[in-house]
C-alpha cells in the first residue's frame, strides 16, 4: 500500500509551484520532498523533519489520521517540513525503527540526508473515538546536531466534552476536528519559535490539588541555577503499556520549560543505555544513575515508578495516576528529591464537575507540573532525630 504522503507529494508540489507562480511568490524547497506553503508574508522558515508518530496510547490508534491532522496544521502555519516518503526512506535506509527520540548518529544523518536542522518527535499518549473523542499528544523539537538538544517541547490533551458550553453546543464529536484544534496550538507555537516570536508557555495550569502527597527535599537541590537533567525511563508497575513513557514525557516537558534547566534528549539517553546494556529492572541503583549521568553529562537524573495509571476511557470515567519520582545528584551521589503523588481527575471537584480533569494526559501534565513546582518551592526537609 502506497503511503498517502508519496501519492500526494508530487501533486501538492505542483500545486504549490502553480500557486507561487500565480501569486508571484517563490516556493522554496530546501530538501528532497520538502514542502513549503505560503503563509502570508512570513519570512522563510527553517525546515524540520517530522518523524512518524509514536503510539504510546496502549491501544490501536488511527495514526494516519492523526498524522494528517498534524501535517495540515503545520502547512497552515507555513512551517517548512519534510515528512512521508523521504523520511520513511531515510529511516528504512538506516534501519531506524524507533522514532520516539533522536540519538546523535541519527541526528547527524538527518541533517546531512534530509537537509533539516531540527526533527519533530511526536508521541500519541492517549486516543479514543468512542464514547467521546479524545486525544493527548506530547511533542518536542530536537536539533539535528552532533549533540541533539531539545529546542521546544509542547503537547495537548483534549476530550470532546471538555468545554460543552450552553446546551452542549461546545461538544466536539468529530475526532478530526478535535485533532485539528489540538495540533493548531502546537503548530502556532512552532511557528512562533521559528519566527523568533514569543513562544506560548507549554506548562499546564498550576493546581495545588495535584501537589505531591509526601516529599523529601535536600537543601542541596536548586533548580533555579543552570542544570542538565536526564529523565530516565520510569518503571511501569501498571498493566497499561507505556505508562512509564507517558509520565516521563510529561516531566520532560515541564522541566524543559524551566529557564535554567536543560533536559537531555531522551533519544540520546536511550541510545546510551542500550549501547552500554543498562537494564533498569527493579528500580535504578546509584551505580546506574551515576554512569548514566556521566555518559550524558547530566547534573541530575530524574526517575521514578508509575504504580497506577487509569485512562478512564468509559463515559463517566475519571483518570487516575500514581507515581513516585526521585532526583539523584551526580555530585553528592544521593537522592535530593523524592515524592509520591497520587491524584484523580475529580480531586477537589465539588460543583457540577467544575475543574474536573478528564484525560490522563492532562492529569499527568498537571501532576508533573505541580511536582516540579514543589521541587522549586518547598523548603528543604528539616533534619530530625529518632529519640531513644
Amino acid at each position: 500500500m502506497t503511503s498517502w504522503a508519496s501519492c500526494s507529494s508530487s501533486a501538492r508540489s505542483l500545486a504549490a509551484l502553480l500557486c507561487a507562480a500565480l501569486c508571484g511568490c517563490a516556493a522554496t524547497a530546501a530538501a528532497p520532498g520538502a514542502r513549503s506553503v505560503k503563509a502570508g508574508n512570513a519570512p522563510p522558515l527553517r525546515p524540520i523533519a517530522v518523524f512518524p508518530l509514536v503510539n504510546a496510547a496502549g491501544v490501536v490508534a488511527p495514526m494516519r489520521e492523526i498524522g494528517d491532522a498534524l501535517r495540515r496544521q503545520l502547512e497552515k502555519q507555513g512551517i517548512l517540513f519534510v515528512e512521508g516518503a523521504p523520511v520513511d526512506d531515510f529511516l528504512a535506509r538506516h534501519r531506524i525503527r524507533y522514532t520516539g527520540g533522536l540519538d546523535a548518529a541519527t541526528a547527524v544523518l538527518a541533517r546531512r540526508e534530509l537537509g533539516v536542522d531540527q526533527v519533530l518527535i511526536t508521541t500519541v499518549v492517549a486516543v479514543a473515538r468512542e464514547p467521546m473523542p479524545r486525544l493527548s499528544v506530547e511533542a518536542r523539537l530536537v536539533s539535528a546536531a552532533d549533540d541533539p538538544r531539545i529546542v521546544w517541547a509542547g503537547g495537548f490533551s483534549r476530550l470532546g466534552d471538555d468545554s460543552p458550553g450552553a446546551f452542549d453546543l461546545g461538544i466536539i464529536r468529530s475526532f478530526d476536528e478535535l485533532a485539528a484544534r489540538g495540533f493548531a496550538g502546537l503548530a502556532r507555537s512552532l511557528a512562533a519559535l521559528a519566527q523568533h516570536r514569543e513562544v506560548p508557555s507549554a506548562v499546564c495550569p498550576p493546581a495545588g490539588r495535584f501537589r505531591p502527597r509526601s516529599s523529601y527535599r535536600a537543601a542541596a537541590l536548586d533548580l533555579e541555577k543552570p542544570l542538565t537533567i536526564a529523565v530516565l525511563p520510569f518503571q511501569n508497575l501498571t498493566r497499561r503499556r507505556n505508562a512509564g513513557d507517558v509520565v516521563s514525557l510529561a516531566f520532560v516537558r515541564q522541566l524543559q520549560s524551566l529557564a535554567s534547566v536543560r533536559v537531555t534528549e531522551p533519544g540520546v539517553l536511550r541510545d546510551d543505555l542500550l549501547r552500554f546494556r543498562v537494564v533498569l529492572q527493579g528500580g535504578i541503583s546509584l551505580d546506574v544513575a551515576r554512569m548514566t549521568m556521566e555518559l550524558v553529562h547530566a547534573d541530575l537524573a530524574l526517575t521514578g515508578v508509575v504504580r497506577s495509571f487509569d485512562d478512564a476511557l468509559n463515559a463517566d470515567g475519571v483518570p487516575r495516576l500514581e507515581y513516585t519520582v526521585m532526583l539523584l545528584d551526580r555530585r553528592g551521589d544521593e537522592v535530593v528529591w523524592r515524592s509520591t503523588s497520587y491524584s484523580q481527575g475529580d480531586d477537589g471537584v465539588f460543583f457540577f464537575d467544575a475543574g474536573k480533569v478528564s484525560t490522563v494526559g492532562d492529569l499527568a501534565c498537571r501532576m508533573a507540573q505541580s511536582t516540579v513546582r514543589a521541587m522549586i518551592d518547598r523548603p528543604p526537609t528539616p533534619p530530625r532525630k529518632i529519640p531513644r
Binding site: 546509584l286 526537609t381 528539616p382
Partner: protein, 187 residues
C-alpha cells in the same frame, strides 16, 4: 448512676473501636542518632493481595524519607545490595545477612516488615479496607533488632456498618498505618 456508668463504658468502647492496635519495642541502649542510612528490604506478604507488601514497603520508605530523620536508599540500590550480599530470603534475613547487607550498602540499619492483612474485608453486607503490618529495624553491626512496631488500620467501623459505603481508600489507610508506625518510632 448505673445508667451513667453504662453509658460511659459504651462510649469508651465505641471510641476504642476506631483506634488502631499495635505493639512496640525499642532498645533503650541503641543510639538511633548513629543511624544515618537505612535500607528498607522487601516486606513479607502474608495477605491475600499480591501487591500489598510492595505497596506498603514503598509507602513506608517514602514517609520515612520524608521525615528527614534518615537517608533511605532507593529500592534499586537495595536490590543491588541484596544481590551483592547474596541474600537467600531478603524478606526474613538472618543476623549474618543483615551484617553483610550493611557492609554492601554502607547502611547502619535495615528495616524488614510483614504485611499480615491488606485489602478488602467483609462483614455481612458491609465492606471496608484493612491493613495490618509490623516492621522491625535491625542495626547492621550486630544484626540485632533495635526497634519493632506493629499496627492495624481500617476495617469496618460503626458508621460504615450503619450507613454503608466501602470505607476509606486503601492508599489513605496504608498511609495512616505507616504514619502510626513512624509515630511510634519518633515517640
Amino acid at each position: 448512676m448505673r445508667i451513667d456508668t453504662t453509658f460511659n463504658i459504651a462510649v469508651a468502647l465505641a471510641l476504642a473501636a476506631g483506634c488502631s492496635h499495635g505493639s512496640q519495642f525499642k532498645d533503650k541502649a541503641m543510639d538511633f542518632a548513629a543511624v544515618r542510612t537505612v535500607a528498607v528490604l522487601p516486606f513479607q506478604n502474608l495477605s491475600s493481595t499480591p501487591a500489598g507488601a510492595e505497596r506498603t514497603r514503598e509507602v513506608f520508605s517514602e514517609l520515612l524519607f520524608a521525615s528527614g530523620a534518615v537517608y533511605v536508599l532507593p529500592s534499586g540500590e537495595v536490590a543491588r545490595g541484596i544481590g551483592k550480599a547474596n541474600l537467600g530470603n531478603p524478606t526474613t534475613p538472618s543476623a549474618e545477612d543483615v551484617v553483610n547487607l550493611g557492609k554492601a550498602l554502607a547502611a547502619q540499619a535495615v528495616i524488614t516488615g510483614t504485611v499480615k492483612e491488606y485489602g478488602e474485608t467483609r462483614s455481612g453486607s458491609s465492606t471496608g479496607s484493612v491493613i495490618s503490618v509490623s516492621v522491625q529495624m535491625l542495626e547492621t553491626s550486630s544484626g540485632k533488632v533495635v526497634w519493632q512496631a506493629s499496627t492495624t488500620r481500617g476495617g469496618i467501623g460503626f458508621w460504615t456498618r450503619l450507613v454503608g459505603g466501602g470505607g476509606d481508600p486503601m492508599n489513605n489507610i496504608t498511609e495512616d498505618a505507616v504514619r502510626d508506625l513512624l509515630g511510634k518510632l519518633f515517640k
